[in-house]
Symmetry: C2
Subunit: 419 residues, 2 copies
């Protein structure tokens, strides 16, 4: 590779709001999106909420000349909604489905049925290994009373861990997607601190688009004030994040968002705004592109966010256990009632009422059983994430305790030298 | 690191059969296991089927002096059953829960409720990065009519992919666990071909233990002839697999199994036999430890096993879709019956019977709905694994098509050179 090596990477990200039977002007929007992607010919187009596999196949066919490789990430009951179109051959594919993703009985929210996930594509561009991740986290339906906060923090941690462990051989890491978190939200900070990923909107010198980089804006005709909650001027929940790992330097030359309408004819592609980033990768001396969490201030921010996430997950565990216990009481109560009904039937007193109540009561016990099992599983999932966070926190504290050379800690701490 | 560097690694693996209320002599067995592990002081003890977190805590306390670090992998409703005790500090932890793991209505088999998973520990020993994986795959209840075959193949693929993508920076990879597969089973071949892992039993020059390395033997008093099925002399389903990745050479000096009784007083630790391996890691010239799948015969074996796995998953997808369709018909039939019952109630004919049938019928529709959703999710999961396999197969075929230098294929195939 030449010393003046430079790789340009043009990336497109959009939450497509492509829900069969529910989303407005779906067919027309997908057609226009396909035309736009063909016209612009990005290196990578990473999409979320493509919940119709037919629409993916339609786009695949339409985009085949400009984007010869594509992948649809299948998961859950309705799918993850994630897909990607690439101008370059995709070398490897991997997918991780988040352990926790809402509640099945909140069927009107629907997230549980989708199997929210993170997809990974490994590409080789000019001999450089690029790990591109696309994801979509659980939606936030109420900012004031967010019952999904613990799940979203657990998802952010799983995402951060997935990236951390699968990108160790990558030169460049790129994460695009709808994180359903504002830039300073706990999960977002956890993700950035643990992985060292940087936010294209914050880093770029040349931003064009909606005010404050918002990706859901009131000007978009598909967005209601209810969607924006206490932020009437818009929210920023879709991201392009990146980092270079080994001897490379990456920077975002330009970042553009749509502004409530498609760039050509005015009707929006989706209820979210699209992000379009032009990134440049160059060689750099090792110290130039150091991970933000490496210095003492970065490490202290990391420790603080790990602690906060631990606390939040602890609250989630308590809540999950409360619900499991409540369901347990309902089961006991239901079983007692069943015995009572049996006695009534045997004694011929109020026999008809007893027979009528028998089946709904069996249903109640079975339903409570399902709720009990679900929340036990939820508590296990949250405990697991909390245990991993505590382990990370312990290791961070240990390495900080060794003073000015934290990077030596793992080696010094390891035993078993027998050479 | 010195040129004559040599690292010895003593590893213990056991499926502990530690199921509260169900497993015989559980408390006594765990006590004796703890004593044995303390006495032997392995570098790593990787355990499966520790389904009581209390028992893990008991072992943790008991083993703390010899194994200062430990981790319990939580997942599913009852847990993954996986845990690990380490003489060296665990640097990092990650866990992946398998997407498919049997059927909830096969509750008497129980696997679905366990959240079978693979756990990863990253350790640094003498400056060398060791990725140690522990796992437990879905049980095989009938070899003649194995309804879980597609799920186990999908799990083996997920395991292989998880190892492949998370071990890119590792010097040594170690996988221990109960794979519930015989050495020549499809999933086992897929795992070994895709990851390049080698089987300690096959590789070692010094094996002591049960005949043919079996890990479930008729001599063990907890094993019934039914457990062994058509293999009355025993089966080998627990493994120690390993490989060295970058400039290192690893070999298994000795492998020992228990033989139906604990090495000291004759009563077995579990219904499975324990595996004890002594591995040595040394420096090597790069070509000495090449991955078995690198040469043309290895690659052809890989292509063949990828193809076979694709076919098996295809059968699984067809089966899952059949069940989803069947559940769909039951829903339609149930809904029709509900309408009929409404008509009967409205018309005052057979009112009592109609009222009595109403609730069970609602239950039938809801139950069929759950079965429908479950099998749709199953089909999605199998399709996902199949799509990944097909992608891997395509890439393998492409690289083989380039003749004698397959390792250059990814680079040659990649586009986008802009340097």
């Amino acid at each position: 590779m030449k010393p003046n090596f430079s790789l340009r990477l043009r990336v497109f990200n959009l939450n497509c709001w492509d829900i069969p039977y529910l989303s407005k002007h779906r067919v027309d929007r997908m057609k226009r999106l396909g035309d736009f992607l063909n016209l612009e010919s990005f290196d990578l187009a990473l999409l979320q909420e493509v919940w119709s596999e037919q629409d993916f196949q339609y786009l695949r066919q339409k985009l085949a000349p400009a984007y010869p490789d594509a992948h649809y990430f299948r998961s859950g009951i309705f799918g993850s909604g994630l897909c990607v179109f690439s101008r370059h051959p995709i070398q490897e594919i991997l997918q991780h489905v988040y352990t926790l993703n809402g509640y099945p009985y909140k069927f009107y929210h629907g997230d549980w049925f989708c199997g929210k996930a993170v997809g990974l594509l490994v590409l080789r561009l000019s001999g450089l290994v690029l790990n591109a991740y696309v994801t979509h986290l659980h939606a936030e339906y109420s900012r004031q009373k967010d019952i999904y906060l613990a799940h979203r923090v657990a998802q952010a941690w799983e995402l951060a861990q997935f990236i951390h462990h699968t990108s160790k051989n990558a030169d460049v890491v790129l994460l695009c997607g709808d994180l359903n978190m504002h830039p300073k939200d706990l999960g977002c900070c956890l993700l950035k601190e643990w992985t060292g990923l940087r936010d294209a909107y914050v880093e770029t010198q040349d931003f064009k688009g909606s005010e404050d980089g918002c990706t859901m804006v009131p000007k978009n005709c598909y967005v209601s004030q209810q969607d924006l909650g206490p932020f009437p001027f818009g929210i920023r929940i879709d991201y392009v994040l990146y980092k270079a790992v080994s001897g490379f330097h990456i920077y975002c030359k330009t970042l553009t968002t749509t502004t409530g309408c498609d760039p050509h004819n005015g009707t929006p592609f989706s209820d979210h705004e699209a992000l379009m980033a032009t990134l440049y990768v160059k060689h750099s001396p090792p110290q130039e592109d150091s991970c933000p969490a490496d210095g003492p201030p970065g490490r202290s921010a990391l420790v603080s966010v790990l602690r906060e996430a631990c606390t939040e997950l602890g609250l989630g565990v308590a809540q999950a256990r409360w619900w499991a216990a409540f369901a347990g009481y309902v089961i006991v109560w239901g079983l007692t009632l069943l015995v009572l009904l049996c006695v009534l039937v045997a004694g011929l007193e109020a026999r008809e009422v007893a027979v009528l109540l028998w089946t709904p009561n069996v249903g109640l016990v079975l339903g409570a059983g399902a709720v009990y099992l679900f929340h036990r599983q939820e508590a296990k999932g949250l405990c697991r994430a909390q245990a991993e966070l505590q382990h990370a926190l312990r290791r961070e504290n240990e390495s900080q305790g060794l003073g000015s050379e934290p990077q030596l800690a793992p080696l010094l701490a390891a035993g078993g030298r027998q050479s």
